[in-house]
């Protein structure tokens, strides 16, 4: 357990929902909580902020247990999904509000407001009312206001969900930049996996009130430890394990593949970008390591995505999604997938091979 940063373990239950989450975030880190709607990610944030109280558990921030600390003394700032800018105050007044509460002298306050506004690139907007700002501008002001309270922890509740796609991409890099400049430990809730992968040091995947996996973006994407995490973080193909004997090709001998079915729902999983397509019957698959080969896969759909084609295929009644740089020229193709790109799951949990 780190003594700097956040470490929490909380239990809470509501009508038909139980939350039981434990995780920690290191000081200065930007961590993302991600999960489908209703997984308890926003509840987790509200528990940490103190807006709701857990039944039991502990929240330790920089070495202090803040479970019993009232909201306003926690020094945890939060940016709400709808930004919650005070409609009766202008931008400068909104940002000055937390400093006013702390009785920061007026000159210092003005200076801070200016500094924060330039940090979020909004210097021209001091006198505007929140109603006169666009969504992206509101978001920046809300962030500046949260920073003005000099929090030990910054919580962001889906801060970009109300904005359009292009602005989202821009603002998320802005948030990352501001995070690097301020170095405040940040917990960021989102349901957008691309956003999480793009900005987080650590990703916390939640489902049904529980933490599924904690790790860096690469770990989560490439080594998901459950089928849920695998399919939630990006696209993937799930097939029954028992198709392997029919499709496995082991050429170089040596690193032969050991087929070992297990009791239960035993499945394999692989990403579309790891699928190799051969549309020329006369040529072999360009793959020399041990791999699975699906002959006579039928192309049922082909979407142009700009930088690649997303191809839907049907092989022995199983749907397979593949990414390719070129459109397949025939309706029947051969697919290959290298064995080391395959993850094995038993009843949704990763099977660890020793």
């Amino acid at each position: 357990m780190a003594d700097r940063g956040l470490s929490c373990a909380m239990k809470a239950s509501y009508q038909d929902f139980r939350l039981d989450a434990a995780f920690s975030v290191q000081e200065g880190e930007l961590a993302c909580i991600i999960g489908p709607s209703g997984c308890g990610k926003s509840t987790t944030l509200q528990l940490i902020a103190g807006l709701i109280t857990p039944e039991e558990g502990s929240i330790i921030l920089n070495g202090n247990d803040i479970m019993q600390t009232p909201v306003h003394e926690r020094q945890i700032a939060m940016v709400f999904q709808d930004y919650a800018l005070f409609p009766h105050m202008n931008v400068a007044q909104n940002i000055a509000y937390p400093m006013k509460l702390r009785k920061v002298p007026k000159e210092k306050r003005l200076e801070e407001v200016n500094r924060l506004l330039s940090l979020v690139s909004m210097t021209e907007y001091q006198k505007r009312k929140p109603q006169e700002l666009s969504g992206g501008e509101r978001q920046r002001v809300a962030l500046a206001r949260a920073l003005a309270s000099q929090p030990q922890l910054l919580l962001l509740d889906e801060p970009l969900s109300a904005l359009d796609a292009k602005l989202r991409k821009h603002l998320r890099s802005e948030i990352r930049r501001i995070h690097e400049e301020t170095g405040i430990t940040t917990l960021y809730v989102t349901h957008d996996q691309e956003e999480a992968l793009a900005i987080a040091d650590t990703i916390i995947v939640m489902q049904g009130g529980k933490v599924e996996q904690v790790g860096s973006g690469e770990e989560i994407y490439h080594s998901p430890n459950s089928l849920f995490v695998a399919t939630f973080m990006g696209e993937g193909n799930t097939l029954p394990y028992n198709i392997i004997p029919r499709s496995v090709i082991s050429q170089m001998g040596g690193n032969g593949f050991l087929f070992k079915p297990l009791e239960g729902k035993h499945t394999i999983f692989f990403r579309p970008e790891h699928v190799i397509i051969q549309d020329d019957e006369t040529l072999p698959l360009p793959e020399f390591f041990t791999h699975l080969e699906f002959r006579d896969a039928q192309v049922v759909g082909c979407e142009f995505q700009g930088d690649h084609f997303r191809i839907s295929l049907l092989w022995e009644g199983h749907q397979i999604i593949a990414h390719a740089e070129e459109r397949p020229r025939t309706a029947k193709v051969r697919l290959g997938i290298r064995i080391e790109k395959i993850r094995e799951f038993l009843n949704g949990q990763l099977v660890i091979k020793n």
Binding site: M78, L101, Q131, A146
Partner: protein
């Protein structure tokens, strides 16, 4: 091709509101024209002196100041009484909350003559409250002696108006999301500080808007001042216009005072409009996230909530209930001991010969029912056809909307005065008199009906009518087959509103009608004036019954249209 709403059917949509608008124009502007011409004309022809004198005299200024003063004080008292209730309704769920909420809508439909009567019966020297206090604490004299004084005016206005503020502010408050408050907490503000710096300022637009409405009501208050003020020292603009026209028989002075009053009211209305816009702006920013329902936590909180709810119910229901109770009482002997009796109802329904003004009670009841029915049946189509044009965007429709709301700028006493001046010119019989009453009630009712139908009409997507047109129905059939059925609920509510308004209308009726013309409120007023309170209560109970039916039917119609 131009992509415009209406498109090729523009002519139809232009023609639709014309008859209604023409009728309203005639009904509203003609009497206003007569009023103004009376103000500017004397035997020698056009003159400014009368208006000039009215506008500058110390007497007018004194009346104006008193009117503003009593309105301000009443509004302030209403706000102070209403805010705790608004807090309770908006933030907590408790047993009886729905009942209290329903109660707060009562003042929107209750006629002012009932307020006056209930007030006298409940708070009067011999009223139920005093009787109760005297019995409980065995007092010799009634402890509350406020009737016919300035205090009575303020108290009656507060009793009448605080539920309005409670209703409007609490519904705004309830839909205000808690995120701003939560944000303030996370930024380091305590609960008290958060309330002062965040919640209260956010509520302010709704408080200002509701107070302005109440201020307008108190400014235009007529029956309450007339009866409870009890003398020339407590006269307001409205009462003075009535007094000048009908007691001093000086129509010219009344007309020029009306002109003055219209100017003041216009300022108030501009301010009200501004506050409404402010409210709309702040509401646009408020998201409607459901707030957490919670119950009062501490014992003290629970007791306070209970006490406040009880007091509210007592203040709203007490006077109304006492009207009903009192209507079944009559003194058997001259000395005045009262016992249960159907006497007033027997007199009302002419089973027994009526004493005094009770003689005209049945006539008044049938008159009022007939007038109200006619008013409701005519105003709904007028408002509906006008709404077809107003709901569209654009300059023409917004000016039409403004025109439709115009009668609101002129108080009903002034409308009554206009018709009174007309009736003096044409000198018709009783039937002409009743016709004028109907016309005056229509002018008063149209803006309200319009305000009921218009929002529902605007909520209806334009695509309904458009798809009907593409399916082959002409604009007229589209109107009758699609739009009218969809607006049924709003039309019923609007019609009921007009009916209730007409049933309880006294300001214009009293100002314009001569003694031969009787309506329910007028007879009630006369009964109160001759101290036959029980008789007035019997009529009042009938009025309460009618208003309750109207209230229930319109609530049902509302529920139906919401359920769609």
């Amino acid at each position: 091709m131009k992509q415009q709403d209406g498109g090729q059917y523009k002519g139809f949509y232009k023609a639709m509101p014309a008859p209604g608008a023409a009728v309203l124009l005639l009904l509203f502007l003609v009497p206003l024209f007569f009023t103004l011409s009376t103000a500017f004309l004397s035997e020698e022809g056009f003159t400014l002196s009368r208006v000039q004198q009215t506008f500058t005299s110390a007497y007018t200024i004194r009346i104006l100041l008193f009117t503003l003063y009593q309105a301000a004080l009443s509004t302030l008292a209403s706000v102070v009484v209403a805010l705790p209730g608004a807090y309770l309704l908006a933030n907590y769920s408790f047993r009886g909350k729905r009942f209290i909420r329903a109660l707060t809508t009562v003042p929107f439909v209750i006629p002012s003559i009932l307020v006056v009567l209930g007030f006298v019966i409940f708070f009067g020297n011999n009223g139920f409250l005093n009787q109760f206090l005297m019995k409980t604490f065995s007092l010799e004299k009634p402890p509350i002696q406020i009737l016919y004084s300035f205090k009575a005016i303020i108290l009656a206005h507060t009793f009448f108006n605080f539920p309005i503020i409670m209703n409007l502010v609490s519904s705004y408050w309830e839909h205000m999301d808690m995120h701003c408050e939560m944000a303030a907490w996370t930024l380091g503000a305590r609960k008290g500080k958060t309330f002062r710096t965040i919640t209260l300022p956010r509520l302010l637009p709704s408080i200002i808007s509701a107070s302005t409405l109440v201020f307008l009501f108190c400014y235009n208050s007529f029956a309450i001042i007339l009866v409870l003020g009890g003398g020339p020292q407590f006269t307001t603009m409205e009462v003075e216009i009535y007094r000048l026209a009908r007691t001093s028989m000086d129509s010219g002075a009344a007309a020029s005072l009306s002109l003055f009053s219209i100017l003041v009211t216009s300022f108030l209305l501009i301010w009200y409009n501004k506050s409404q816009k402010m409210l709309a702006r702040s509401e646009a920013y408020t998201t409607s996230t459901k707030r957490l329902d919670k119950r009062p936590a501490t014992v003290a909180g629970k007791v306070l909530a209970l006490l406040y709810s009880l007091a509210t119910s007592l203040f709203i229901l007490g006077p109304i209930a006492s009207i009903v109770v009192r209507s079944f009482m009559a003194s058997t002997t001259r000395s005045g001991a009262e016992s249960f009796s159907f006497r007033w109802y027997r007199q009302l329904f002419a089973i027994e010969r009526g004493t005094g003004h009770m003689g005209s009670a049945l006539q008044a009841l049938t008159n009022s029912l007939a007038i109200a029915t006619i008013v409701a049946l005519i105003t709904v189509p007028i408002a509906l056809t006008m709404a077809t044009a107003i709901r569209k965007k654009g300059f023409a429709s917004s000016s039409l909307e403004l025109f439709g709301m115009l009668p609101m700028t002129v108080s009903s006493v002034i409308i009554g005065l206009g018709y009174y001046i007309i009736s003096n010119r044409i000198r018709g019989g009783v039937s002409i008199g009743y016709t004028l009453v109907v016309l005056a009630h229509m002018v008063i009712a149209i803006p309200f009906v319009l305000r009921t139908i218009l929002p529902e009409y605007r909520k209806m997507p334009l695509s309904y009518a458009q798809s009907s047109l593409t399916l082959g129905a002409g604009p007229l059939r589209t109107f009758f087959l699609i739009e009218v059925p969809l607006l049924k609920g709003a039309m019923i509510t609007g019609g009921m509103f007009a009916f209730a308004l007409s049933m309880g209308e006294i300001n214009a009726t009293l100002t314009l009608a001569n003694s031969a013309i009787v309506t329910l409120p007028v007879v009630m007023y006369r009964l109160i004036g001759s101290y036959n309170f029980q008789g007035a209560c019997a009529l009042g109970s009938v009025l309460i019954l009618v208003c309750s039916i109207v209230f229930i039917v319109s609530e049902l119609a509302k529920g139906e249209s919401n359920g769609r």
